[in-house]
């Protein structure tokens, strides 16, 4: 058929139209494929659990709304879960546990900076069921959603578990002064110990190699803290917890020791404990009860070797790297007086009873939030 005005029809096919069409196609394609491509990479999917009833340390398949099949028979060979000084090379899973009463954005920013592969890190949080806890929860969830859903995949953590405590809050106030009053210590730390144990034993699971305890108010750690601490190959290892502050005298930022729960025992402390009833606890950092223990907080040296180790008899929970095997053997945070010690200090004692000597790194520092 003749087309006397063949060129006429071409006037519609101008490049702009085509470009718009192409853009539209891309747009549609993006939305069709979108959910799949913006989701996790295949390597992560390969390690995911197929059923929601599974260890919380791994992500699981979202239900498609249909009826779920019976959960599979899952095999876990714990002989193959290694805990070595080179966790990175062996792709060892780390469980980062944080009991959280308040949410500090600096805390989240700090763990986001950890350069251990995030796809090997599982985060576990436990929050009290109080108004404060609810507030922290809201903040935390905001950050989690931002990271896990919108963030780049390398920032996303393997999985995240949020627990709410079933323990009645022992104290109304988390105010620093009230919190640190000596007579409140046993009740407070007993509740804290229960919270820690609840968090630990609900989340540990069969694939964890290391457990890193990091308090919610620890706002600065070296980004390589996991690798640095793991290289010591110790069952329980505590870095030194300091606090940065504005020094009025020198008119400059300065740092001071913060966590006094990392210590070596003294004969005086042992004698004190001997005289106490088995239900009483000996706590550190109070003038009413001078223990003359060797405190790691004061052992840091300006020119000291970063990786210098010292054996400890009591540890604090601010930052603590523990081999999962230690916890699996049964080392937990006693919520009762265990050799007149409680919570993290009792934990150190229990680890020792199980044959794991705790160590500390006086010159390796992490920093506590300044209230």
């Amino acid at each position: 058929m003749a087309r006397p005005m063949g060129s006429v029809r071409l006037k519609k096919a101008n490049p702009v139209t085509l470009a718009i069409g192409a853009a539209l196609c891309l747009f549609i394609l993006y939305f069709l494929l979108g959910p799949a491509t913006s989701d996790f990479s295949a390597s992560r999917k390969a390690t995911a659990a197929s059923h929601p009833l599974s260890p919380p340390t791994s992500p699981f398949r979202k239900s498609t709304g249909g009826k779920l099949a019976a959960p599979p028979v899952a095999h876990y060979n714990l002989n193959n879960v290694t805990t070595t000084p080179t966790p990175l090379e062996n792709s060892e899973n780390v469980l980062l546990l944080t009991p959280m009463a308040r949410f500090y954005p600096e805390y989240w920013d700090n763990i986001m900076r950890l350069d251990y592969p995030h796809e090997l890190i599982t985060l576990g949080f436990i929050l009290p069921k109080t108004r404060e806890g609810n507030d922290a929860m809201r903040e935390l969830q905001k950050r989690i959603a931002k990271t896990q859903q919108q963030g780049p995949e390398k920032d996303r953590f393997k999985s995240i578990i949020i627990l709410r405590e079933d323990i009645d809050p022992p104290l109304v106030s988390q105010d620093e002064k009230e919190r640190h009053k000596m007579k409140n210590q046993k009740v407070r730390r007993s509740a804290m110990a229960k919270a820690r144990n609840s968090l630990l034993f609900s989340t540990l699971g069969p694939s964890t190699s290391w457990v890193l305890w990091l308090d919610a108010d620890v706002v600065e750690t070296p980004p390589t803290i996991i690798q640095d601490l793991a290289q010591h190959d110790q069952g329980v290892l505590a870095p030194n917890c300091y606090q940065r502050f504005w020094n009025e005298e020198t008119k400059a930022m300065d740092e001071r020791p913060y966590d006094f729960n990392n210590w070596q025992d003294s004969p005086i402390a042992l004698e004190l404990a001997q005289k106490m009833s088995p239900d009483d606890i000996l706590v550190e950092g109070y003038s009413e009860m001078a223990t003359y223990r060797t405190l790691m907080a004061y052992m840091a040296q300006e020119d000291g070797r970063l990786h210098e180790e010292m054996p400890l008899d009591g540890v604090g929970g601010a930052a603590l790297l523990v081999k999962a095997d230690v916890h699996r053997d049964g080392a937990m945070f006693p919520a009762f007086a265990f050799y007149n010690l409680i919570e993290t200090e009792g934990f150190a004692k229990m680890s020792k009873r199980l044959g794991w000597q705790p160590f500390g790194l006086p010159n390796y520092k992490v920093y506590h939030y300044n209230e």
Binding site: P4, C25, P35, A36, S43, K45, T64, K129, I162
Partner: protein
């Protein structure tokens, strides 16, 4: 923008300036375009549209191919190729086929659990409370089938039961048989028979103590053995306890008889830790039954005094003369006709069957693998729970039965008994055989007697009828005599047999 080539459209001037299409020039008049009439074109609009659509389609196809290419290249591992292909496949199927078991799924990385909603109540089955059943195993192949029949019969809703097994240092086919049985369970045609999460955990502790009864229960081996058992239990629990569990039930694989409703029965008491009484059946010659689990007890002053004299790492074990504790044991307080709901406070518990609230373990109570107040494993567990003011209860009249495994002495004795029994059976069989032979070789006298009697009567009748000569009755009498002598002969060997029996 992605590169694509489009032909430069050759646009001819559409609106010639300066005149109407009819050719008449106009002066300074207002121009309305178009000035010229143009036919709508010879190509129908539909085709024109198709062509432009085709063009857009072609571009889209190219773009799509590019996208597909990048998608396929992106994953690095070979296994992942399937994932992304399937995600592009879902594009074609518009997601309708995605549920067909392919690897197309999304991940959920965040879990939220409120621990105050899994506290455990007296009527857990109504509130859908999940129970974790923990079973430590070692060379337990022989008991597995029995255990699975128990599991099958449990009346607690199966989908609320999560099973966790620890297989350690096993030399037999425990693992293989276990896997097979569990997979069969989950593939059961009845959906109500499916269980919840099932984990098989392997961990070898390098146990040196043998698992046979003698070395297992020897006194010297106890402390080390109990500490190792404790470690195994802790490893199992820490790997299997989840935030959604309300209860944890510890069960030994070698329980022979237990009520199907045991979970509900124990749960009804709503205690933090609760144990039934554990006995075992015995052969008749050993008394028929015996208390088995002596680890459930109340503390006594004697034991506390004893504990003070021992060194830090010593472990007191029950049921051995070396440590006389004089404790009241749950096992000995059993009354077979007693009320099964009667409770008794305990300080140490045995591990055959423990129902505990999950919060007990969450708060940190575990099986000490060290000497905790001079106790380890389940007894230390009871002690630690008491230390944390949790309730530890035993039911003296609610009994389950542990399988009977004979000790070495028992086995010797049983072999002896077996030999005796065999000898006796042999003797009886011989006796029966002999009786049979006798019966066959000597015909029964009674039948002959009857026959003769009938014969005699007939003869007598004939005699009466015919009044025959005197010779005939003699004949009949002689026949009678023969029968008598015959019956005597039968009695003779019988007497000999009695004698023989006495000799045997």
């Amino acid at each position: 923008m992605l590169p694509f080539v489009s032909p430069e459209p050759q646009v001819t001037p559409r609106h010639p300036v300066g005149g109407y299409s009819n050719g008449y020039p106009r002066g300074k008049t207002f121009d309305i375009l178009p000035h010229r009439y143009q036919p709508r074109g010879t190509i129908p609009t539909t085709r024109r549209r198709t062509q432009s659509l085709l063009r857009i389609g072609a571009v889209a196809a190219i773009l799509f191919l590019i996208l597909l290419y990048t998608l396929l290249r992106e994953p690095s591992s070979p296994s992942s190729t399937t994932t992304s292909t399937s995600s592009t496949l879902s594009l074609f199927s518009l997601g309708l086929l995605s549920s067909s078991g392919s690897a197309d799924f999304q991940l959920e990385t965040v879990r939220y659990h409120d621990l105050s909603s899994v506290q455990g109540t007296a009527r857990g089955w109504e509130r859908e409370e999940r129970i974790l059943i923990c079973v430590p195993l070692r060379d337990a192949e022989a008991h597995l089938s029995m255990f699975f029949s128990h599991l099958h019969n449990l009346t607690y809703p199966h989908h609320l039961l999560d099973l966790a097994f620890l297989v350690s240092d096993s030399k037999d086919n425990t693992l293989g048989l276990l896997t097979e049985s569990l997979e069969a369970l989950q593939a059961h045609e009845q959906e109500s028979m499916h269980y919840g999460e099932i984990s098989i955990i392997e961990k070898d502790f390098g146990q040196v103590v043998n698992q046979d009864v003698e070395s297992r229960h020897g006194f010297a081996a106890q402390a080390g053995r109990r500490k190792l058992m404790a470690r195994a239990r802790n490893w199992l629990l820490s790997a299997a306890l989840r935030p959604y569990h309300s209860w944890v039930y510890w069960r030994d694989v070698d329980v022979e008889t237990a009520p199907f409703t045991i979970l509900e029965d124990l749960m009804r008491h709503n205690k933090d830790i609760i144990v039934p009484n554990v006995w075992r059946p015995l052969p008749e010659w050993l008394g028929g039954e015996q208390p088995y689990d002596l680890n459930s007890w109340q503390e006594s002053d004697t034991a506390l005094t004893l504990a003070d004299t021992l060194d830090e790492d010593a472990v007191i074990v029950e049921g051995y003369a070396e440590y006389a504790t004089y404790r009241p044991h749950l096992a000995y307080l059993r009354d077979p006709y007693g009320d099964p709901d009667v409770e008794m406070e305990l300080d140490g518990v045995g591990g055959v069957s423990i129902l505990a609230k999950a919060k007990v373990f969450r708060y940190g109570v575990h099986f000490p693998a060290f000497s905790f107040e001079k106790h380890a494993e389940t007894e230390g567990f009871g002690k630690m729970a008491r230390r944390m003011d949790l309730s530890v209860i035993g039911l003296p009249h609610y009994t389950i039965w542990h399988a009977y495994e004979p000790s070495v002495d028992d086995i010797k004795h049983m072999e002896q008994m077996k030999r005796e029994q065999l000898a006796q059976e042999q003797a009886e069989r011989e006796k029966a055989e002999r009786a049979m032979k006798i019966k066959e070789s000597f015909s029964d006298a009674a039948g002959q007697w009857e026959k003769d009697k009938v014969g005699m009567q007939n003869i007598a009748q004939e005699d009466q009828k015919q009044k025959a000569p005197a010779g005939d009755p003699v004949e009949a009498v002689s026949g009678d005599n023969a029968a008598v002598s015959q019956s005597k002969g039968a009695a003779q060997p019988a007497g000999g047999k009695v004698e023989e029996k006495v000799v045997a």
